[in-house]
Point group: D3
Chain length 136, copies 6
């Protein structure tokens, strides 16, 4: 159940068709998942969002694509986005994340959440040593 | 400004002293940052928290320590924990995160937050393809 | 699936009946959506919540009712409240929000989330120019 | 640094004066903390907020006032509201929360945050046994 | 729908079996809810999580077990963890939380969320009186 | 205190200079606030972020610029981004938001947060009437 309906024939729009074709080509798969289908209601927003995802997540960079997906999962969990947790866990697995690595990711996310809340509860003051601005 | 004061002489408590010594030894540094100083009000909580941090973050594992710190940062940002963002950014730098890698981390966190909110705003339904339970 | 069951005959309670009648009258519709049905377990909480909603959202004010619903959606998305996103998107549409306006709302919410996370990740210090307290 | 300035002479407004007097009387103290001082910019919002706080937190009820403040702290920590964590920790201490009880509160908040994130990361499906609606 | 499948025969693993037996014994019930079933994919994480839950939530302490569950609910609501809200509401009811007490919990959570957002929106500065560090 | 230092001479970089010039020209002011100064560490991220802000917030659209800033504030409050609340409250005031309108915004944000938490605490099920997908 969504707050809007996906378009009936999304690829009748030329912008949508070009984005969907690029998604298929980039991923080497015919599967278009729901976020893109629903974003097709707004071709410009679809295009910009895909372009940013492709630039950040699907292009050559210092961080490998599996690590990038694991960071994406971490943010999505803390923001309680169920769909995002699912889609990026699937992506991380597709990029080689093993069950053991997933287990490590679970531990880091859980521990970070725990200390985030402890620190906020105690309102720990910042150590002067962490101040980047004081560095020459 | 914290919600409790750090103990006057934390290392007069044997449990606290043992934890602080282990922090110094594990890190190869005399610096004890504030989270440990304030947790020293409750030696058992200090001991358990350090033990979990050491086990998850400071021990040999599949994920390298720089990657683990970057995931920790991601969760801490989404949970808006200022102290945690500072301390784990310092830790990630100490483990070799370059300015360029930090830039990539910023982009992934920002993009994840963006699509987390887009997906929640549109209430995108889950694709059947993401269902782990249906997998044999 | 809720954490409590809705009452069997909510309108047998006089307070509940009065609130439900006022909801129907204010909205010009017989439809009572689930939040009110479940809140009827606690007639005082139902009454206070409806009274506040009516005062803030359904009365004459400087902001028009469509704008108010769009702000409500923005908060509900950031708080990851699925039901609230649905009910207030329906309300915004009922108050005239077009598909194009919904698209603009999506962009603002997504961009705000992105810069919120960027700013928190970098821990940007506040500009002195933003300090209301220094204004005469 | 706030987004608005407190009024110069808040108690020259009769509504504000009545609320401030009631705060002093209810608490048996002359101290008016900043939330009320800043809310005095909008006497109606001040009055409604204080009235709700007084009704929920300062009146006789099944839960004792110390417990209520500890629940308030828990929500405020998870919502990362620094001011609220401070003011309600002070209130809980004033209502008798000991250092040991504060330590237990820290553990519960930290553990809840940890399992909240674990559950969201794994997207654990709801057990049928938790379904209140199926109960007769 | 979860991001991983529960193990086919979890209790064929000795660690899992020991934890499940302890869960059954501690609770005096044969019911193993889903969080434990899914965590069984990672016996060490299962063991550590149960051990912490048992230590914090199921052992003798200053706070009674009903109060502890209500605090757990408060955090889980603010973190938008649906499963956690369900499981800990069931636990609080099992430990004697009445409908009236649940109603009070609702009011406190709702009011805290309201003032958390008000305070953040106005960026209320901290009162010097709240500063624990200045206390001798 | 930030997690990175602003560049010493940001405008010695041609991309940064072009963005800063465009910020000054778009706003009709020489003031460059800190988010742009710190983003100048990463000229491409600076350029992309400004370009998106300009496109969404500073260009002609259906929603007026004051309304857009108020929606931005709403998201920023719920995400607990102190800097963002400050900078967008300043922007909303600069675009004509009156004190009374700010008061209405406070009320809507506070009420939304309250019902978001109530709904999550009760896990209110979605009404069939909200289902966009069932609409022809």
């Amino acid at each position: 159940m969504a707050t809007l309906s996906p378009p009936a024939n999304p690829e009748s729009n030329a912008v949508v068709k070009a984005v969907f074709d690029d998604i298929r080509h980039t991923r080497g798969s015919d599967f278009i998942n729901n976020i893109w289908l629903y974003l097709a209601n707004d071709p410009k927003l679809l295009q910009d969002t895909w372009s940013e995802i492709k630039s950040v997540m699907a292009s050559e960079s210092l961080l490998d694509s599996k690590t990038k997906e694991m960071i994406y999962i971490a943010v999505s969990v803390a923001n309680a986005c169920s769909y995002c947790v699912h889609s990026h866990t699937a992506a991380a697995k597709a990029r080689g994340m093993s069950g053991e690595e997933h287990g490590e990711l679970m531990r880091i996310i859980a521990l970070a959440a725990k200390t985030n809340h402890l620190v906020t509860a105690m309102q720990i003051p910042l150590d002067a040593a962490f101040d980047a601005d004081t560095k020459p």
